[in-house]
Each structure stands twice: as structure tokens, then as C-alpha cells.
Symmetry: none
Subunit: 250 residues, 2 copies
DNA sequence: CTTGACATTAACGTTACGTCATCGTCTATA
DNA sequence: TATAGACGATGACGTAACGTTAATGTCAAG
């Protein structure tokens, strides 16, 4: 029994174009081609198509499907195993995204907790000066001046936005604390946090470590972090340490 | 303070090309363009870029991001809410895929015996309740009550016999799959299967079709069928369809 | 003045097809 | 037998969000 493109397509619930395409990339060739150029598929081709569609539904790329079908069954098992891992990673990522969405929603709804607001204000007011003094002791004059300049050049509105972005990050980190400081999720958040710091200055790995210490040792900083979560400062420090260790050597 | 493309790009951790692209599509225009054609960004642009990157990390499309940033904050909330739902749907889908991957792995490992037992237990235990709930949504109360009554009136021994009979039918169908869903052999098995359903309720053609869909769409049913053979659910559906079409008009 | 870093635009490649557009082929019917 | 209409083919553009050359212009430093 032979199928034309239309027949096979409607049988499998796909479009004719898809069959053309699969022929084009060599994934599924017709059993024969008439001298009029028409494609004719046989049952074997139909079965191969079933396999293709099965793996396609599993979100394999057509390239991967070609690999799997060309190699013996053993490769299929291996590919499925790896694919499973990839799917799980995607789920974890999506879960993280949902969480961030949630905290952003909360923030936008103005449900910022008292503690957040406090962190907020303290950063923007005189604490900034103390912070600068502390930073100066730690990293010298140059960076501090830059920090001052950058921060001072923002309007009040902008400062508010920047600080609130920081709050979202901290809230995310708190939520991810059970996963451990070395978990990919937390490490990704640290990366985000590092990006965030650029509003203030260019952070070197050493400075990141220094901040980890600062959050623990400085009473004011420590108080702010503890207000959000009792273990946050400590957690940040170890997460930062791991983050710095995994940084490319450059 | 002005940034060149490179400066802003490395500040934000993105590529120059990305900035070019964002300019091109009008998502982020430079604050000014020199007469040499160079793009210059100011801090306002940098802040907007931060927003863009934030939403981008949340898997919003650039189109959506443009919408969100152009409308007031209220729209952002709405968008985030919808986005949350979409993310959850993606997770559910991925979970289903993982399940299918697992059963396919099991199948390829030749663990069919084990899988039969599992089908067995899941069908007989709580799954029966869920199944009834689903059936209720589909066909209303009457049939379900009848199903419950019939099924509930069997002893454990009888239930076991009925379920194992079902498994035998499915295994027969799997063996006959290469013959095609319209083959007389398979059609005879579908008739046998229909008889078998009478243990649960009186199946009308419409309900048979509904079952075909259910076996494909419901994750639990689908998982059970996929465990036996990756294509069984789809195959059942088309075989049922053919069977119903060839049914005498009464 | 040269060199090297950085800037620009243009254009193709990527994935898996959808969607015309143009044109040839087959089949049933007037 | 002429023709309409269904079906076949190929070609080419469009999609999303950039990556990647390529060719060329500009700027700061030595």
C-alpha cells in the first residue's frame, strides 16, 4: 500500500509541508518517487514517521531524533535519560521563574513588608554615608568615589527603583535558602545580585567577598539582613564564596 | 554620563548585537546619536534596560516587554499574573513529558511484565475514583453511578479477573499494531474491548470515542497505556474511530 | 601617522515549519 | 475530449532573538 503526501499527512495528523520538510532534511524520505515527481510512502515510512512524531512530542529536536533513529536502541535509552535530566532542569528553572514572578507581584502590589521598607530607607539616607566610610576602609578611595558618583547621579525615583530591585533579589534568595548556597538557583541569583551591584560600582570578586563579610560583620548591614531573615547574612556569605570560586579565572 | 554600546553592554552583561537589535525594533533607543552614527545611552536608558532584562529572564517575549513598559504599572501586574499561569502550564506539560520518557525507558528495557502489574494496581485502587470523576465531567452523573455500582458490586477476586482480562486485550492489540488500526484483527479486538467495558458500564459509540480521547489526553491514563507501548494510546484512538464509523446505524 | 580598539550597517544562519505564489498533473464529468 | 477542480511540486519569504562574519569608518594613544 502506498500513501501520497496528503494521505500520510492526514493519517498522522500533520501538514504536507512537514513531510516536504522532513524529506528535505533527510529525516523521512519517501519510499519511492514517481517520474512525475510525486512522493509515495509505504508502511515502513509510516512507522518511522510514528517514531519521529513520538520523539517530537517529547521535545526532542529533529536533529536529535535523526540521531536516535539512526543508532540502535541503546542510544535511544541514553538519549532518553539525558533528555529526562534536561526536562527536569527546565522544570526547576520555571519554578524559579514563577517564584520571582510571585515576589514581583507582591512588590508591585505594594505589599512590601515593613522590614523591606526599612532596608529601603536606611540605604538611601545617612546609612549611605556610613556605608561609604566602611567601604573606604575596605577598598580604598577610588572605588568609593565612583560609587558615590554613580549613586549620587540617580534621582530619588531611580534610587527607589534600584533599591526595590535589590529587595526582590533578596526575597528570592531567602525563598531559595532551603536549596542550599551552592544550588544552581541560588548561584543564579547571586549572579543577578552581582549585576545589580553595578548600579553602585564595578564589583570585583574580591569586593563580592568583602560584601559577604560586611553583611555579617557590620552591625547596620547585619541588622537589615537579619530583619529579612535571621540567617540571610550568613547564607549570602557562603553563597558568595561558592560563586567566586566557580568564577572563570580570566 | 554617557555610555557607548560596549560600555552599556558589558555593564548589563549582554552583547553589543543585542543593543543594536533592541534599537532596531524600537525597544531601547539610545539617548542620542552622534553625527558619526555612534549610539550614546544615558542612565535612564540603562534603567530601562534593566527592566527589559528582568522581564526577559522571566521568559517574556520582547513584544510583551514592550507592552509592559509602555503601559502603566497596572498592566505589569496583569501581565505577570497571566504569565504565571503560562509558566505553570509549561511545568505541567514538562511533567507529563517526563512521565512519558520514564515509561518509554521502562518499555525499552523490556520491563513490560512489571508495567502490567502497575497498570493493574493503579487501575484498581484510587485511580478508579479519579477516573470516575473524569468520566462524570464527560458524560454526566447517570453513567458514572452505574459504573460505580457495577464495579463496586464485584468482589476483589472478580475485580482482579476483569482487570487482567483488560490487560490481555491490550497486549493483544499491541501485538497486532503492525497490522494497522483498520485491520480486521484489530477491529475484532476493539469489539472484544467494548464487551469488556460492560464490566463498568454500557458503552455508547460516543463514549467509546470519548475513551479514545481520554486515553490520549488524561495524563494518568496516557501514562498507563504508554507504559505498555509508547504508541498504544494513539493507536487505540484511531482504531476506535474506525470501529465506530463501521458500526451499523442501529 | 600608524595601530588597535571600537563604532557602523548589511546580510546570512539558526528551528521547524506556515503561508503564499506559480505551475504541473490527475481524474471525473459535461 | 475539453475542462474544472483537487492534488502534486518547487521556490521563496516570514517567524524570534539574536550570533556571526564581513566590509568599512572613527577615535585615542604612542
Amino acid at each position: 500500500m502506498q500513501y501520497t503526501v496528503k494521505q500520510l499527512a492526514s493519517l498522522a495528523g500533520i501538514s504536507v509541508r512537514t513531510l516536504h520538510y522532513y524529506d528535505q532534511i533527510g529525516l523521512l524520505k519517501p519510499a519511492s518517487v514517481g517520474e512525475n515527481g510525486y512522493r509515495y510512502y509505504d508502511k515502513e515510512a509510516a512507522l518511522r514517521l510514528q517514531q519521529i512524531l513520538f520523539y517530537r512530542e517529547l521535545d526532542f529536536t529533529l536533529d536529535e531524533i535523526a540521531q536516535i533513529l539512526s543508532r540502535p536502541e541503546f542510544d535511544a535509552l541514553e538519549a532518553l535519560g539525558e533528555h529526562r535530566v534536561a526536562l527536569e532542569a527546565r522544570i526547576e528553572r520555571l519554578k524559579g521563574l514563577i517564584h520571582t514572578v510571585d515576589s514581583t507581584i507582591l512588590y508591585l502590589k505594594g505589599k512590601t513588608t515593613m522590614s523591606q521598607k526599612q532596608l529601603f530607607e536606611e540605604f538611601s539616607a545617612e546609612k549611605q554615608k556610613e556605608y561609604e566610610a566602611e567601604a573606604q576602609r575596605r577598598w580604598g578611595e577610588k572605588h568609593v568615589k565612583e560609587s558615590q558618583k554613580r549613586w549620587g547621579s540617580y534621582t530619588a525615583e531611580e534610587k527607589k527603583r534600584v533599591l526595590s530591585e535589590g529587595n526582590v533579589i533578596y526575597q528570592d534568595i531567602i525563598a531559595a535558602m532551603p536549596l542550599g548556597p551552592g544550588s544552581p538557583q541560588v548561584q543564579a541569583m547571586i549572579a543577578r545580585w552581582r549585576q545589580h551591584l553595578r548600579y553602585f560600582y564595578e564589583p570585583t570578586p574580591d569586593m563580592l567577598r568583602g560584601l559577604g563579610d560586611l553583611y555579617n560583620d557590620d552591625p547596620d548591614f547585619n541588622a537589615n539582613f537579619t530583619r529579612m531573615h535571621p540567617d540571610l547574612a550568613k547564607f549570602m556569605k557562603s553563597a558568595i564564596e561558592i560563586y567566586c570560586q566557580n568564577l572563570p579565572v580570566n
